[in-house]
């Protein structure tokens, strides 16, 4: 006999909000990463792989150092390094962005699974490691909903809000942001203005890997406390969808990421509130993926940065 839960009680609403934040954090971080890359003109479907290697790096580093903060740093570095490979191939060697991104995903999948075996001798999941300690705000436990949601949250969720703000500032309020957007819209004009398009794109792709690595780290040591084979399960692609849905803008990425996070949360919420649906759990799990497709079909032709996906070849002096 299962317990009937009132879906509209404050506790349940607080739970829904908290799960939404938890599910949205990796999506928003990764979508922001994708935004930097794509606004500079480089398609990055390797986000999934960068998340995965970030998630792995975080757990491995935490396992060996017993300090989750080092884990976060290593995740960011690992994501950045993998992105650097993508950057070398696409920016320097003018390779196909999507093929390179696929290579990044395949490599990250194989490499993390291999290292899982090398380090822990395990084929499925790693040993448990220390999680990033939650930030506990004292004195607000009593307040309904807000107290339950914000009373104890992972600092990485706050980091995510911070990242949105910083990304917005960088993209719209700094010369670097202006150049980055120009690199994605009209690289030859930027080049004519005396800015090195390759450098801008290179940096942008590395930033995207760092953010995706951070997003992956949240999955493995912020939300959970271990690494599992293929644990990102398509979140990199959902982040890509959030990026498109959010119109390649920081605030848009944030809102879209939140929306997709909400769908994810709703999925676990439904299976909790309506236990009769448990045999149909697979369909509930499908909801976020299907809705992403519907959402993409619904917005119609989104306007991506004009030069996205194209390689910029500097004209050779005659």
């Amino acid at each position: 006999m299962m317990l009937q839960v009132d879906p509209f009680s404050p506790i349940m609403i607080a739970l829904l909000i908290e799960t939404t934040l938890q599910m949205a954090t990796p999506l928003v971080l990764t979508a922001l990463g994708g935004m930097f890359s794509e606004r500079s003109g480089i398609v990055n479907i390797g986000l999934e792989g960068m998340m995965l290697i970030g998630a792995f790096g975080a757990v491995a580093a935490t396992f060996f150092s017993n300090n989750p903060w080092i884990g976060i740093v290593v995740a960011v570095i690992a994501g950045g390094l993998l992105a650097a490979i993508h950057a070398v191939i696409t920016v320097k060697l003018k390779g196909n962005h999507i093929v390179s991104g696929t290579g990044v995903i395949l490599f990250a999948t194989g490499f993390t699974t291999l290292m899982l075996y090398v380090i822990w001798g395990a084929r499925g999941i790693s040993e448990e490691v220390t999680r990033v300690p939650q930030i506990i705000i004292p004195g607000i436990e009593g307040i309904p909903i807000i107290g339950e949601v914000f009373g104890s949250l992972s600092p990485m969720i706050y980091m995510m809000f911070f990242a949105v703000l910083i990304s917005w500032l960088i993209l719209y309020k700094t010369p670097f942001g202006l150049r980055l957007r120009a690199a994605g819209e009209d690289p030859s004009t930027l080049d004519a203005a005396g800015v090195n398009v390759e450098t801008i794109r290179f940096v942008a792709v590395i930033i995207s890997g760092c953010l995706a690595g951070l997003g992956g780290a949240y999955l493995s040591i912020g939300f959970g406390s271990r690494f599992g084979k293929l644990m990102t399960s398509g979140r990199g692609f959902i982040a890509l969808a959030a990026l498109i849905f959010g119109g390649w803008r920081p605030i848009g990425c944030f809102l879209a990421g939140m929306f997709f996070g909400f769908l994810d949360a709703l999925q676990s919420f439904i299976s909790l509130v309506v236990p009769e649906l448990l045999p149909y759990n697979n369909f509930i799990q499908m909801i976020p993926y299907i809705l992403v497709v519907i959402a993409l079909a619904g917005i119609g032709r989104a306007r991506p940065p004009k030069a996205v996906g194209t390689n910029y070849e500097k004209e050779r002096p005659a």
Partner: protein, 491 residues
Amino acid sequence: MIEESTPSMEQTALLTFVDRLMMRLKSKSLHRNILHTFASIVLALGTAAIIMLATGYDPLQAFSALFLGAILNFDQVLWRATPLLLAGLSVALAFKCGLFNIGAEGQLYMGSLAATAVGYMIALPIVVHQLACLVVGVGVGFLYALLPGVLRAYRGAHEVVTTMMLSYAAVFFTQWMVSQGPMHNPGDWRSISPIIFDSAQIPKILGSAFLNWGFIIAVLFVVVVDFFINKTVMGYEMRAVGSNEDAARTAGIDAKRNMAIALGLSGALAGLAGAVEVQGYYHRFYDQWSGGLGFDGITVAVLGRNNPWGVLGGAIFFGALKAGGLFMQTSAEVPSEMVQVIQGLVVLFVAAPRLIDWFSNHGVAYARWIKDRPLFGFLSLIALSYGVFGAFMGILVAGPYVSSNFSLLLLGFVTSIGGLVVAIFHFQRDERRTRATWMVALLWALMLVSGLSMAAASVVSVALTLAGVGFVISILLMRLQPKSDELKEAA
């Protein structure tokens, strides 16, 4: 080679099939492609060897086991190549139309589930039954990919995201179908369907336990796809859309319709891959049986450069890797996941054709440069090898301290990357090479200090040697740098 016969062949008005084939085989671009592909594979295997060294496996043993495993189980190689070939053709066909079917996995699942359903629910005579299963599998795959195709063509929803999302949805759906759903094998605790009738199974070839006539079907489709892409109007239109959508539209080609159908056909091939695999080997639908065949299809297509015959080669290569991988795991104790790492590396190297050019161009220029200034050139060559050797040693020395000293590991890693940078700078004849060599020598000195503080003998000895050698090389580099070179490089 045999170039003398080329002109006479061109003069012959009657070009037979063999002649045309010979012409194609002699074309420059094909040679270039084949050369690039082989170079990519060699580079990927080399990088994999470095990863093996760093993780404590013996690459020579691993590769020989891989090779031996593929030779000994050649029927397994072809069996493994069968779904790879069809999935590869699927991805390649979409690619020809400028679409990237990254979710072939989902179409493969849906196709194989449908084929299974026909295989055990309906009783039909032999041959008819097998064909019925295949046709239904193909049809379902077609429809499952047509949906994202239509969404892409008419609504602009990017196919990379939608096919991937639908792929995850397909995994959940098929899982439900064979666990709680109507296709669950009654009374079984596993998530599987009942076994299909004998009449629906594809027979094995030559008494092999693995290889079945599905392989012949797959090879047949190489010809079919080749013909479709290169010899039919629709294939031509798809290629036109793929190379330049706007131009194709201006020429009066219905780009949207072609896109939707191309993705649908791509899904049909993926569905066929699933149906053949279930009918030929598994004989029932296991939950998550494919384990990434759709993704492997991308690798195969990329390696085959989206040419159907190239895809055949790529499929056999990866089939060999997969068949050999299991042998490698049992005999050399290298995890079979290594194969996936190699796959990723191959794709990365193939994605960067200019890397090979970069190597050959700079290699030639570097050799000439050394010939011009033997003394400094030789020193630069030594510095380059020092960089490469240091890159190895950095990881190798710091590796064992992964659990005890994290900062040493990080330092070793940075030193390794520094070594690589030194090697690249020397290779490219970049003027920053002397400064970079200094930096790496300093890093090794740092390693020495941290090794001393930890009383780690292996670190101390290696770091002492490499720091010493590094400083000597750096000083010599500064001394010997010819003045004319500095001026030339500054200009």
